[in-house]
């Protein structure tokens, strides 16, 4: 077995797997004559590493892995609550069959996807615009950032309640404005389309600052010399934005979009407080539906199936987004 050494630093370089003869911990595939002292040292180091990371892994296992797997198992079970806890009667696919036969589930899925696409798209556009404006501010940037963070820092239950007061059809200030300024007689939370719109506005108001701050962080890191060269070449502001700023911001925007997809797909507190999922089931997201099935109806198996399927869908959506994003970046690198 060879040991390669970094030419300039003298630090032992990491060996490719083919040169290590497989995983030394397994004790297989090691070529005869390899120094046993080195393997023993690696095993000792591995043990030390596991010892140090074991507490963290135990916590992760307890609070992340276990609930996910537990929920997965419950979703395939006919389960009820007994005096000693959950009682699994049998394993079954009935919970998932109930989902695919439920028109309410299809509606909740469609609504959640639509809501995610619309709000995330709006937040990205507005967030980028806000970040571009803030980047040009000098002394007041700190104040502006602090002001912009107020909606984001507000607890959603509180902000949803405030929006509910403003939308109220009897005494809401927004209703009053629409009546007295525009002569309309709106029932903002009373019809499906306006309730969905009102909910999206409340979400965009709260979350755009989050996107703006992330994009701003990316903006200030962009190298200035590229802009100087472009300016020398005669590029205008619009060209520089489309050809330099936006392409370079893509990784930053991707991070923001990923976070937002995760949050928007699991939206719960806003519809729960603002509309209760109504009118009818117009604003019932998958999370609200899961909550109602699980905690109002105490239908444990079906509730777990909704939670599990939602988790899989959002993971799939994120992976798809990343794949598309990487493919796009790869194309640009080649170009």
């Amino acid at each position: 077995m060879r040991t390669t050494t970094g030419k300039t630093t003298g630090i032992p370089a990491q060996r490719p797997p083919s040169e290590t003869g497989g995983d030394p911990a397994r004790g297989r595939g090691r070529r005869a004559g390899a120094p046993p002292r080195h393997d023993a040292q690696r095993r000792r180091m591995a043990r030390t590493g596991w010892t140090y990371t074991a507490p963290s892994l135990a916590v992760i296992g307890a609070i992340t892995l276990f609930p996910i797997v537990f929920s997965l198992v419950l979703s395939f079970s006919e389960v009820r609550i007994g005096y000693g806890g959950f009682v699994v009667e049998r394993l079954t696919l009935d919970n998932y069959l109930a989902l695919v036969r439920s028109s309410d589930w299809y509606y909740a899925l469609g609504f959640t996807v639509f809501y995610t696409v619309v709000t995330v798209a709006a937040e990205v556009v507005l967030g980028v615009l806000a970040a571009l404006v803030m980047e040009r501010l000098s002394a007041s940037r700190g104040w502006m950032m602090a002001l912009m963070l107020i909606p984001w820092s507000m607890i959603t239950v509180v902000s949803a309640r405030l929006w509910a007061y403003m939308y109220d059809s009897s005494y809401g200030v927004i209703t009053w404005l629409l009546q007295n300024v525009f002569g309309a007689n709106p029932l903002i939370l009373g019809t499906p389309a306006s309730a969905i719109g009102a909910m999206a506005v409340a979400d965009i108001w709260k979350t755009t600052p989050f996107v703006a701050i992330i994009v701003l962080a990316g903006l200030v890191m962009l190298p200035r010399d590229v802009y100087e060269s472009a300016e020398v070449d005669g590029a205008g502001p619009w060209t520089m934005f489309w050809r330099i700023t936006l392409p370079q911001l893509r990784p930053t925007i991707a991070v923001a979009v990923l976070f937002r997809i995760l949050q928007a797909f699991g939206v719960f507190d806003l519809p729960f407080v603002l509309t209760g999922g109504g009118p009818g089931i117009a604003t019932q997201s998958l999370a609200v539906m899961g909550y109602k099935v699980l905690f109002q109806d105490l239908n444990i198996g079906a509730g777990a199936a909704i939670a599990t399927s939602t988790g899989l869908l959002v993971a799939g959506a994120c992976l798809l987004f990343l794949k598309v994003f990487r493919a796009q970046v790869g194309k640009e690198d080649v170009a």
Binding site: D23, A25, R26, R43, A46, R47, W50, G61, L65, F66, I68, V69, F70, L72, V73, L74, S77, R80, I81, G82, Y83, G84, G85, F86, V87, V88, A98, L99, S102, D104, W105, D168, S169, S170, Y171, L187, L189, G190, T191, P192, G276, G277, G278, P279, G280, I281, M289, Y291, K292, V293, F295, Q296, D297, L298, N299, A302, I306
Partner: protein
């Protein structure tokens, strides 16, 4: 040492399977009320109940606990704060008790919970009515029925809630109008009052997608002579001529302008705000609204309000219907102090506590001899005086799937109300509601 992702996942599955195997429930509760007696040693129990305000703004829970501890000095009762809404309380209690928590020992729960909580082992069975007929005969039959499931009682009654029609007595006097005895008369009176410009709305009620809408629907269907389900919550009867009559009238309240279009977004809070703000002539609400509407600090119509039992339909007889509401004390089946918990929950249902409640608070007692004795509560409170004449409507509480049944009712009817309130769509709505209720009854609705 090597731990692959597959290894981690396998570990998780094994852990989950172990947990599932380990939490297999037994067929009977750890203790039953029949096994126990009040303690002789000092014990402390936790009571989870929302703040109950007395007429002078004090906490009724504290005065009840103080009086109880004078009778049972060996039992100390600690008050536990509760989450703000009924739904969140149910969630908290479900997760807590299902995981075997021994506290709270006693909790105040909604009258709609007994069958569901009994079915899911979240409440201790407290014995059969037949085993203690002398005790249970002191309460209205409908109350005892609402807290029973499969022959067992699962809660001790605490307080009732009934629905009343509140009205602007000053406006009726001003325009020489009578208090309406029927819904048709109320519609005419409301339209006249709107025409005078004294009010913006005629009648406000709870049409939002939620449990209060199920209460309103149950009452209107009862007014028309029908019911949503049979008393044993097995046969769905919503899609009936009586159901059609009720829903058609509800939509006409909106289309004729008696009720605002926004009523489909009104929960109790919004209706009370509209009425207390002087915008509405009539309000359907629970007994607590009497105090709120007459509180000068929060109401523009304080002192101008009176209450009657809800009207009925023309030619439907003399019955004045009100949905049964209220809260009762359940005992945690895992409590470490079942004797003390049962002693306390039972004491709250008995005469001393019920009299204290009636004399000092706006809550309606459940004990018949106190409830039907207006001298105790005071004759100036019409809600107590009227309750003896109310015809109680029971929602299908007897089903352990009641929340899903109710959801089928309120989502379907709310959709009808907000979607143009078209009387022509009533038939389809009722068919859809009845189908949803049947699926919910069978436990297969989502």
């Amino acid at each position: 040492m090597h731990l692959s992702r597959r290894g981690l996942l396998t570990g998780g599955v094994v852990l989950a399977a172990t947990a599932l195997a380990g939490c297999g429930g037994d067929a009977r509760p750890p203790v039953t009320a029949a096994d126990i007696a009040p303690p002789t040693e000092p014990v402390t129990i936790d009571w989870m109940a929302p703040e109950l305000l007395t007429n002078d703004g004090k906490d009724l829970r504290r005065s009840m606990v103080r009086t109880f501890q004078e009778r049972f000095p060996e039992i100390t009762v600690r008050l536990v704060q509760v989450p703000p809404t009924t739904d969140v309380r149910r969630t908290t209690l479900t997760t807590q008790i299902a995981s075997g928590a021994v506290t709270p020992d006693v909790y105040l729960g909604d009258c709609a919970w007994p069958a569901q909580f009994a079915h899911n082992s979240l409440a201790m069975p407290l014995g059969r009515v037949a085993d203690d007929e002398e005790f249970w005969s002191k309460y209205p039959e409908e109350v005892v029925s609402s807290i029973s499931y499969q022959g067992q009682v699962y809660a001790f009654p605490c307080y009732l809630d009934l629905a009343f029609l509140y009205y602007r007595a000053d406006l009726l006097d001003k325009h020489g109008l009578q208090v309406p005895a029927t819904w048709e008369e109320l519609r005419r009176t409301a339209l006249r009052l709107i025409d005078t410009g004294d009010v913006r709305y005629g009648l406000v009620w709870q049409g939002m997608s939620g449990e209060p809408l199920t209460c309103n629907v149950s009452e209107f269907v009862a007014d028309a002579g029908g019911a949503l389900m049979d008393p044993d919550a097995r046969r769905v009867r919503a899609d009936s001529p009586e159901g059609r009559h009720a829903l058609t009238f509800m939509t006409e309240l909106i289309s004729s302008g008696v009720s605002p279009e926004a009523v489909g977004t009104f929960a109790e809070e919004q209706t009370l705000t509209a009425f207390a703000g002087g915008q509405a002539a009539f309000l359907r609400n629970w007994s607590y609204a009497w105090g709120s509407a007459n509180d000068p600090a929060s109401s523009l119509v304080a002192g101008k309000v009176d209450a009657v039992l809800r009207p009925t339909f023309d030619g439907a007889g003399a019955a004045r219907h009100s949905t049964l509401g209220g809260w009762h004390n359940f005992v945690n089946p895992h409590t470490a102090h079942p004797g003390a918990a049962v002693a306390f929950a039972r004491w709250v249902a008995e005469e001393e506590a019920q009299t204290l409640m009636a004399a000092t608070s706006p809550y309606l007692p459940t004990l018949s001899k106190v409830l039907y004795n207006p001298e105790i509560a005071g004759r100036d409170k019409p809600t107590n005086r009227l309750s003896a004449d109310a015809d109680i409507v029971l929602r299908p509480f007897g089903s352990p799937h009641y929340p899903a049944i109710s959801k089928a009712v309120y989502t379907g009817v709310n959709r009808l109300l907000v979607d143009g309130a078209d009387p022509g769509a009533v038939g389809d709505t009722l068919t859809e509601v009845a189908r949803g209720m049947a699926l919910a009854r069978d436990g297969v609705a989502l």
